[in-house]
């Protein structure tokens, strides 16, 4: 009975996202029709939430097999892992679409709005397909569609030349990654009868080591490209900022997670752990991505680019967790492997929540002030208090502070690092224990980064006219933001509710992982901490009574202006100074007028990062390929006699081969 209901709900989700909503949108021009379609999208996602939580909390999967209709086996199924990621998608999709309701109304004319909603719904569908696919064919279709539809959504926003170029880089990287993924799938073929996950899982035992390693590496590279690990991340800060905010929320919050899903599916479910060194590789790549990601993020002034880079950081943290889990797996310590995996997967969910919240917040800011450049914001907290409050929650969560969800997952990962101590007399403990320091550094930098974000954007004095006259965002937007913020707080304060099913998922993925006590201990202590802090805070707040509003103290001078505040650039200056080897900044200071340097009227300061992966890695590679192409081009001399010569040479050489062939 329950199974049936789940199946029905799942079908409803697929059909309404894939068929009804787009058709209705394309069909009717009227506002009511559009609203109906949108409510269909929201409703189906709510249904999806129920389906996913059913399958996540109490193991009960649903399978939809369409192989009769398709050329190659195409089946969708929900097991616990899929359920988690389906939950991620639907949970984020609901508030995002509610937010988008008023965002798209505001930003697009009628026709474009219809298109954007249609693509939006299809984009959601493609992601659902990816995480529920149970055959390679289905997975790859969803995978490619996901890329294409997101690119389409970016291009609906506008079609300037440099936007086109960014989309090009996005698509190219994605396609290269997809090629790696495809190879990863197909390498199973000689050993498994088909590309459905069941037979792949059974075949994985028979794989020779070389192939096994190859598959693992390909999966890591392919999914890593999608996830945006450094140095495969170059598309990410280009593509995410230029998408419309709800879409970038989905891309950063959810789409990246599908890559994590793919990697988890391959590394843990299908392969059941890779060679001994793979864990270290994943861990170190993750650490590098996280550290560099957050450092680049701090240096950014464009809010959405900053958020994109912080996505790189969080993906790095997730991969650190996965890598740790793989290390423990390789050393046969399943309990700790389970803990690390739980941390990584929980961080997937948390990052989905607060990153989409942040991007939606950026959207709210941009629709209130028409800019996301931190240098032009400020003082928004008094003008849009609710948005500010939700964003404050998001900033605390992403900085990994206690009482917010980010902390719980980072704590689990910390804890699993500490667990490395059980692997004495291997090479693991030093690496893992020192990783505690690395993760701590990352956490500290993240905190600094988001102090900057919230402090500069929302506090102090407005730095521009637009920020001066900003107004609180409309109801729909506030609803979306509020829901996400509530979710962040909930997991942050009462993680136990979510941790239990997660633990049982981990037990599926990592055979022999008992219930790690740590997960329960954190679940026990966090609520108490919360109680104490909130209690004290409230008491104190009640104690403080009288207050008088005065001008900010200006050293006795006549009044401060917004120009005198610390800007985003200056805030990050000390950190940029300390880590200047990462940025290799190219600083420029111009004093105007030129002739009297000691009494400048106007001083401008530029500092640009000169380290660029495009220049150092990608450009030379592309140049090489293009130069080959040009060489070949020269062979196509317009001279017909040369062409004839080619034919004769082909004949002669083949004859020679034939003659001297054994």
């Amino acid at each position: 009975m329950q199974l049936v209901s789940i199946k029905i709900g799942f079908v409803f989700l697929l059909v309404s996202l894939g068929l009804f909503a787009p058709l209705v949108l394309m069909a009717g021009k009227a506002k009511t029709v559009r609203l109906f379609a949108i409510s269909l999208v929201v409703g189906s996602n709510i249904v999806g939430c129920f389906v996913a939580s059913q399958c996540f909390w109490r193991e009960s999967g649903a399978v939809i097999d369409l192989s009769r209709f398709t050329l190659f086996p195409f089946a969708l199924g929900i097991d616990r892992l899929s359920a988690l990621f389906l939950l991620v998608i639907c949970t984020v999709a609901v508030p995002v679409s509610i937010f988008a309701l008023s965002y798209f109304e505001k930003h697009y004319d009628d026709q474009r709005r219809r298109w954007v909603w249609a693509f939006f719904s299809l984009f959601l569908l493609s992601m659902v397909i990816v995480v529920t696919a149970s055959t390679g064919f289905a997975f790859l279709i969803g995978w490619e569609l996901m890329t294409l539809l997101s690119a389409g959504l970016i291009l609906i926003e506008g079609d300037s030349a440099e936007r086109g170029h960014n989309v090009f880089i996005y698509l190219l990287m994605m396609h290269a990654g997809a090629a790696a993924v495809i190879a990863g799938f197909f390498l199973f073929l000689p050993y498994s009868p088909g590309l459905d996950f069941v037979s792949m899982r059974t075949a994985s035992g028979a794989l020779p080591t070389g192939i096994r390693t190859l598959i693992f590496v390909l999966a890591f590279l392919g999914f890593g490209t999608k996830a945006g690990i450094i140095p495969l991340h170059i598309w990410l800060p280009r593509a995410h900022p230029i998408a419309p905010s709800p879409v970038s929320a989905l891309m950063s919050g959810v789409m990246l997670k599908t890559a994590v899903y793919g990697f988890a599916r391959f590394a843990f479910d299908l392969l059941g752990g890779g060679p001994w060194w793979c864990g270290y590789a994943v861990l170190s790549v993750g650490a590098v991505s996280a550290l560099l990601g957050i450092l680049y993020a701090i240096a950014e002034n464009d809010l959405k680019r900053l958020l994109a880079y912080s996505s790189v950081e969080n993906i790095g943290i997730i991969f650190m967790g996965l890598g740790t889990s793989l290390i423990f797996l390789a050393h046969h310590a399943p309990v700790w492997a389970g803990l690390a995996l739980a941390g990584a997967l929980l961080h997937v969910f948390n990052h989905a929540l607060f990153k989409s919240l942040l991007f939606l917040g950026a959207g709210a800011i941009s629709s209130a002030t028409h800019t996301v450049n931190l240098e032009e914001l400020g003082g928004l907290q008094r003008r849009m208090p609710f948005t500010g409050a939700t964003l404050l929650v998001a900033c605390c969560s992403i900085a990994g502070l206690p009482l917010f969800n980010g902390f719980v997952s980072e704590w689990l990962i910390f804890r699993s690092f500490l667990g490395g101590a059980v692997l004495m007399n291997t090479r693991a403990p030093i690496v893992l224990l020192l990783m505690v320091g690395v993760l701590a550094l990352i956490g500290g930098l993240a905190a600094a980064c988001f102090v900057k974000v919230f402090g500069v954007a929302f506090l102090g004095r407005p730095r521009s006219e637009a920020a001066e006259h900003a107004e609180e965002s409309p109801f729909a937007m506030r609803t979306g933001l509020g829901l996400l913020a509530a979710a962040c707080l909930w997991i942050g304060i009462a993680p136990g509710f979510f941790l239990r099913p997660l633990v049982s998922l981990v037990q599926v993925l990592v055979p022999g992982a008992g219930v790690p006590q740590e997960t329960l201990s954190i679940a026990r202590v966090i609520p108490w901490t919360a109680a104490i802090i909130l209690g004290v805070t409230i008491i104190v707040a009640l104690l403080k009574r009288r207050e008088r509003v005065v001008r900010t103290w200006a050293c006795g001078l006549p009044g401060l202006t917004s120009r005198m505040q610390y800007t985003s650039t200056v805030f990050s200056k000390p950190i940029r100074f300390v880590f200047s080897s990462v940025y290799k900044p190219d600083r420029k200071i111009e004093r105007l007028p030129e002739d009297q340097p000691y009494f400048p009227v106007n001083v401008t300061y530029h500092s640009v990062r000169t380290t660029s992966y495009e220049k150092t890695i990608y450009r030379p590679f592309v140049e090489m390929i293009l130069s080959w192409a040009h060489q070949l081009r020269r062979l196509q001399t317009g001279n017909i006699q040369v062409y004839l010569l080619y034919i004769f040479l082909a004949i002669v050489s083949l004859l020679a081969v034939l003659r001297f062939q054994p």
Binding site: R633, G638, I640
Partner: protein
């Protein structure tokens, strides 16, 4: 034994020598008209060979084929070529990109090559070796003419020589293919030449020269 038998015998033993002669002359020839004459001579030799074979093997359709060769390749095509050359009013120089001496050496090399090639396959196919060699030599020469002569007309001629070679090969290895096919092939060649004629006019009209090595607008 009658005179005819002797003649056929002579033809069958000696025609390949004549063919090699034509080949050598073709590659050194400076004027298009010479080449045309040589071509028709070559075709005549082949026709004779066809008749001889037909007589020897008592093949009725061989005579038909021979007649076709005689009519089309010895008479019609050369005449058409002369007509074309006059209508186009181009210089009679073949515009060779190799000097006569080089050409002779290359041709000699190719004759040797053809013998080598035939020798390798010859024993598997039980046919008069020099005949097959001559055929291959014709193919190679045709290719050489097409590659090294810049005049459109010469390319057509080279194509014909090449085709002659293929025809000869077919003839010597298997006594010609089924008649219909042979006829179809001839038909194709005629149409092809016709079209090439049309194109030479178009080239002349659009570029006012016939030097195909200068047709290099489309490249890359």
């Amino acid at each position: 034994m009658g005179l005819v038998e002797i003649a056929t015998g002579k033809v069958l033993t000696s025609f390949s020598v004549f063919l090699f002669l034509t080949v050598l002359l073709l590659v050194v020839a400076r004027r298009i008209s010479t080449c045309i004459v040589l071509f028709s001579a070559q075709s005549a030799i082949i026709a004779a060979e066809v008749f001889a074979t037909g007589f020897q093997e008592r093949l009725a359709e061989a005579y038909v084929v021979g007649a076709l060769v005689l009519v089309i390749k010895v008479a019609v095509i050369p005449r058409a070529f002369f007509g074309l050359a006059n209508r186009l009013k181009t210089s009679h120089d073949v515009k060779a990109s190799t000097t006569p001496t080089q050409s002779v050496f290359i041709a000699a090399a190719m004759i040797y090559l053809s013998y080598a090639a035939v020798h390798s396959y010859g024993q598997s196919v039980h046919v008069p070796e020099d005949a097959l060699a001559a055929a291959v030599a014709l193919i190679l020469t045709g290719s050489f003419l097409m590659v090294s002569r810049n005049k459109a007309l010469m390319q057509m001629l080279g194509l014909l020589v090449l085709e002659n070679g293929i025809f000869l090969a077919a003839l010597t290895t298997t006594f010609g293919m089924p008649l219909i096919i042979e006829i179809g092939v001839f038909f194709d060649i005629l149409i092809g030449l016709l079209l090439m004629g049309i194109f030479t006019f178009r080239i002349r009209d659009t570029f006012d020269h016939l030097d195909v090595s200068k047709l290099r607008r489309l490249r890359g």
